[in-house]
Symmetry: C2
Subunit: 390 residues, 2 copies
């Protein structure tokens, strides 16, 4: 079991702060957007005498409200199709435990959310990466590439949509083709939709709303990013496939109950105004556009336009992103600040890929983002491993 790749750089960031240098954190997906006060009020004004276990699959009242939310965004599920989980993490864990046996394989387009590998290791299963490319915006890999990766041990294809780390949003056409491939080979389609509400250029399509999805699709979800409530640890495992849901329910029983306070918070989301996401999205979109403009003004930087989530993948004119990220923290500052970025190698399953790429999370305000990009530009100029031909 490896340490999280994030952890490697943390000591250098801590050391920089101890030297009095401010660190702009573009390395983690912890949004600065405020958790809706109405949701916090759902916990803070609740009358609680005994904080009891909730049912293993979550409070029925919360599951009903969550089902209404899904229906509003076009995903036709009922409260019975939902198991409330301890964050999106547990829904990923349940998917690995219920859809795969030890030794089985799950195909995932790379770059992908790093912890997927950890869940595979923890469950004795194997991630088979299929590469997507910066050159075409990290679109879904060609279906022929996906199909070639299928072996007798393949049980599922896992996508993250909108994608972390690439920000790519899969089109209805891509999803339909992918579901067709899954039906053809009898594979589950696991769809991690943590960033569903953050699509900037076109409406979101869920794998679970496609015709024929019921038996194949498992939706992995969380309120962490949707409502800036990462600390609530409330997610959901959603499927119309009763056998898979039953299996997941047994794991839910094993850990007795998801968090009660977090469910109260989640339940209060039902009271948010209909336009709640509008200005959150507007803010993220503005940040994305700002970040893209800054990045594209730096010589030698390449980055496609991500349509969703709050991440940008960029290729930098450097020898090695991990060395660069560390150098920024250890040996550089600009106006008393530096910037922390995520080297992309940790998002690839194939060794050697992503060495010049970094992921930037636009989870800080626009002034801070502008200053962070100033640091990045200046840092690239000074970095000894800069590759750009003079």
């Amino acid at each position: 079991m490896p340490f999280s790749p994030y952890r490697k750089l943390t000591p250098y960031a801590d050391a920089a702060k101890q030297r009095g240098i401010g660190v702009y954190h573009l390395n983690i997906g912890q949004p600065d957007v405020e958790t809706p006060p109405a949701m916090l009020a759902g916990v803070q004004q609740a009358s609680i005498r005994v904080l009891e276990y909730s049912p293993a699959n979550g409070y029925p009242s919360y599951r009903r409200k969550l089902a209404s939310y899904y229906q509003r965004v076009g995903i036709e599920v009922t409260a019975d199709d939902i198991i409330v989980t301890m964050g999106g993490s547990e829904s990923i864990f349940f998917a690995f435990m219920t859809c795969l046996n030890p030794g089985d394989e799950v195909i995932i387009p790379e770059p992908f959310y790093g912890p997927y590998s950890a869940f595979a290791l923890a469950t004795g299963t194997r991630v088979v990466p299929v590469t997507s490319y910066l050159a075409n915006g990290f679109a879904l890999p060609a279906l022929a590439d996906m199909e070639r990766a299928i072996t007798p041990r393949t049980r599922a294809i896992l996508i993250c949509n909108p994608n972390n780390p690439t920000g790519y949003v899969y089109s209805r056409q891509e999803l339909t083709a992918l579901l067709e491939l899954c039906r053809k080979h009898d594979l589950y389609l696991l769809s991690d939709e943590a960033y569903r509400e953050f699509c900037y250029d076109a409406p979101f399509v869920s794998a679970l709303e496609l015709p024929g999805a019921a038996e194949y699709v498992v939706l992995l979800d969380t309120i962490s990013k949707r409502y800036s409530a990462c600390g609530a640890r409330i997610g959901a495992f959603v499927t119309k496939n009763a056998a898979v849901r039953d299996a997941a329910f047994r794991f839910a029983q094993m850990r007795v109950s998801p968090p009660g306070l977090g469910q109260l918070l989640g339940e209060a989301a039902a009271g948010l105004p209909d336009n709640y996401f509008d200005h959150v999205k507007e803010e993220y979109r503005a940040r994305r556009d700002l970040l893209l403009a800054c990045l594209r003004a730096i010589p030698g930087v390449e980055c496609p336009t991500p349509s969703g989530a709050f991440y940008i993948m960029a290729r930098l004119p450097i020898d090695d992103a991990e060395t660069f990220a560390r150098w920024l923290l250890e040996s550089f500052s600009h106006e008393g600040h530096t910037v922390m970025i995520s080297p992309a190698a940790g998002f690839y399953g194939t060794p050697g890929l992503g060495r010049q790429e970094v992921r930037l999370a636009y989870v800080i305000n626009q002034d801070a983002l502008r200053a962070a990009m100033g640091c990045l530009a200046r840092g690239l100029e000074q970095y000894p491993g800069h590759l750009l031909a003079g």
Copy 2:
């Protein structure tokens, strides 16, 4: 993966309620004791702008306060020895994942907390039960019996102290001998101490406070029962063994963060008055004594005096406890009520054991307990499978 044994009887309890029959729930360990208002205030009065991820091992401030709590009860650990978990369940899961590999064995005195089997199944490991007996109050099995169960695949011995379901509290002598056995065979001693504060007849001794415990003992803990905060889902994985803790930390990173709101609740426990447990314990002790008196007044019922937790195991003069428990819900009522009890077979690893035994949880008030015991006595009289010689 089996369904929880509790689940089997739930439909019958629901049906009884629908027929208008009140059900006294002695079947689950959900206390009716109020969650301390000062702890709820810790969440409800907190000023929160963004509910962020906490560190993977928990808020440092909470871990420091938890370390102070352990030190007060004689367990010398620091904040660095603690990983905050999602309930006691996750600390059990971490123990199975870090101390055992697939195929390895863990020895557990039976009867034992049912979900241990589920965690073994989920992690590809095997529970080897060693029987403890009602006749001697479910004391630790003879060390020779424990030692005989050790094979080349044994990696750990797991105890629950005070015990669920038996209420037995292990003596310093038993624990010392057990630790010695673990040292001799190089096994981990996993000590689930969820009910630590509820010992009625003698002071509690933790496995982790024994001399020589540091390398061998992993303490599995939770605030669920201690503060009647089951829904908070806050537990702890505590060990001085750095290698085990490092391994568990990687699993903690995989699921990013334990619940933030629950940690605020747990942290506020530090503000409870020193005598907080006194009257809670007094109430549980009074319930235990009441329950024992009622049970012992019923002809043919045998039950040892449990010294801790809030469970009593009783042997009833019946053919089969599962049939009886179901009959109580389906075919019986007394003054408009019936009682729900846990058949003990689900707590044994050895098939066939515990068929006449039940576990009763004294988690309802004394008037209700008295009425519940009235139902049990009358139910036994009327039950067709009653075995007592006339």
